[in-house]
């Protein structure tokens, strides 16, 4: 009898140990990830500033940072995995939507449609993204290390009020500028008749995506506002039940 009880507590201790090592591993990985991303976006910011200071113009700026941008923005897919496996307590859907919209902009708009790479709206959203990401990732890093300076917390939960709408404007203007080039080249599109009886028009797809910002942007914006009230003012927000 006594031995089986001992086995029980030994198993419990083993499970607890496993859980503790798993969470220590998770924290170590997340810390590394956030430091790496902060560094990456800092590099981007500095590269952009250097280019502008040296050349005095924004023409060609996108091309010079394209590879770095693509690398670090695509790496952000890891955040969706973090939410899915539970080491970060955020909704998978919210993170998924935000990361997907970024990946879409980088790979399917600015990367594929060369003619818009010198537009000012591209610079606008790049600057917005850079500031937002540096603030966000440094916030996570300091949070994980339990040494969060107030100014970073303040920046994370206040700057978005200005940056988020500016970023959306930049993205929408870029997609709008890309429309005529997409129409002319017929890229990523498939017409009837074909063996599988399907058609896809990238031009109309882009228009629908632009329209989808109308319902999606307010939801994400108000989500951030609710987070802000909770974190900065300690208010308890009663969520609407579904």
């Amino acid at each position: 009898m006594a031995s089986s009880e001992d086995d029980g507590t030994v198993e419990e201790k083993e499970n607890n140990n496993k859980r503790r090592t798993k969470s220590a591993l998770a924290t170590a990985w997340l810390t590394f990830y956030n430091i790496a991303m902060t560094a990456g976006w800092l590099v981007l910011a500095i590269a952009m500033m250097r280019f502008y200071i040296q050349k005095g113009t924004t023409k060609g700026l996108y091309r010079s940072i394209a590879r770095t941008l693509k690398f670090f923005q695509t790496f952000a897919l890891a955040e969706v995995v973090h939410c899915a496996i539970g080491i970060v307590r955020t909704s998978v859907i919210v993170t998924g939507v935000q990361v997907c919209s970024r990946i879409f902009m980088v790979w399917f708009v600015t990367n594929s449609i060369r003619q818009i790479q010198s537009e000012e709206s591209v610079i606008l959203f790049l600057v917005v993204w850079t500031i937002t990401e540096i603030t966000r990732y440094s916030y996570y890093t300091f949070n994980l290390l339990h040494h969060l300076p107030y100014f970073i917390k303040w920046a994370r939960y206040n700057l978005f009020i200005v940056l988020y709408p500016l970023g959306v404007i930049g993205e929408l203007m870029t997609i709008y500028a890309a429309l005529p080039f997409v129409r002319r080249s017929g890229m990523y599109s498939m017409r009837l008749p074909n063996k599988y009886n399907v058609s896809f028009d990238y031009y109309y797809c882009l228009i629908i995506l632009m329209l989808s910002y109308i319902p999606l942007f307010p939801q994400l914006f108000f989500h951030m506002l609710r987070q802000r009230r909770r974190v900065l003012h300690g208010e308890v927000i009663v969520e609407k039940d579904d």
Partner: protein, 311 residues
């Protein structure tokens, strides 16, 4: 002579904790359904289907069949109320979800003006498979309508209004999307011709019959009274023998029907719709399978949720 102790029920708003209603002289054997009816008298716009009562604001809501006496409360029960929003009966929901696709598809089949180029308005497709597809699609939804009216017995009474809008947009929208391509003037018939169409048609009909048999079987199960709960089992009907392998053969047959429809029409949007339907039905099947396994100790272990031996 025993004196029945009457209960008193105090209803508070779950969010604001304000006092809403005080019911006294409540019979100890009353159910939550009875209490909801009493509450409805004081607040006529909150009909019982819209009310969610629970013993704690954060708890799940109590079931209508729960008896007041059996709840962990003293003689004065405090309950928290939550408004579930306008509700629609399940039968209405199913009817709306079936009539939409049926009629939408027909709009495209008859090439109502302004859908395709005006040269093709009100013409009909020369391909036999397109006529066949229309017949299959229409029969599929007619069968669903008949089942909703005569066969199904729904356990939950209602569904929130928001959900019906979302579900209807999905079903009606997808039906329009499929119908657009199948009835298009530039439609390409299947690569393997008659052979492909006939085989797919045969499998489609088998799956529809199978799906209907399963619904009848499940209905009979419910008819035998709710005292003794049993899990569904194969009967003499060969279509129900899928119960040996799967907990939810109705979903299996439904996926089979849509797969054969997509092969019959050789249309990628239909295949994508089938995939989406499969994903949703797999989630439902897994939930049901888990519920069965938990409730019945002698549940056959060889059964999977939706795909025999796999899922």
């Amino acid at each position: 002579m025993s004196r029945t102790t009457f209960f008193e029920v105090r209803v508070l708003n779950g969010k604001t904790k304000e006092h809403l209603c005080f019911l006294d002289k409540v019979e100890p054997y009353s159910t939550i359904g009875d209490i909801k009816s009493l509450f409805h008298k004081s607040y006529p716009h909150w009909y019982p289907a819209r009310q969610a009562l629970s013993l704690d604001p954060k708890d799940k809501s109590l079931r209508d069949e729960d008896i007041l006496q059996n709840l962990p409360v003293g003689t004065t029960a405090t309950m928290y109320f939550r408004d579930l929003g306008p509700q629609i009966g399940w039968t209405m929901v199913f009817l709306a979800e079936c009539i939409g696709p049926l009629l939408t598809y027909l709009l495209f089949y008859f090439r109502v003006p302004y859908i395709y180029s005006h040269r093709y308005a009100l013409t009909s497709s020369p391909h036999q498979v397109v006529r066949l597809a229309c017949a299959c699609h229409t029969c599929h939804y007619m069968k669903k309508l008949i089942e909703t009216i005569f066969v199904h017995r729904f356990s939950h009474g209602t569904m929130p209004l928001r959900t019906i809008v979302r579900n209807c947009s999905y079903y009606w929208g997808c039906s329009a999307w499929l119908a657009y391509y199948i009835n298009h003037p530039l439609y390409t018939p299947p690569s393997y011709g008659e052979l492909q169409v006939n085989y797919a048609l045969f499998i489609f009909m088998m799956c529809e019959l199978g799906n209907f048999s399963i619904h009848l079987t499940l209905n009979n199960l419910r008819a035998e009274g709710s005292r003794c709960r049993r899990f569904p089992a194969p009967t003499k009907n060969p279509f129900t023998w899928l119960f040996f392998f799967v907990s939810c053969p109705n979903y299996t047959y439904e996926v089979g029907a849509w797969m054969s429809f997509s092969i019959m029409t050789q249309c990628l949007p239909v295949a994508l719709y089938t995939l989406l339907g499969f994903l949703q039905m797999a989630i439902w099947a897994k939930g049901k399978h888990r519920a069965y396994s938990r409730e019945f100790k002698d549940y056959p272990s060889v059964r999977m949720a939706i795909i025999p031996l796999v899922l």
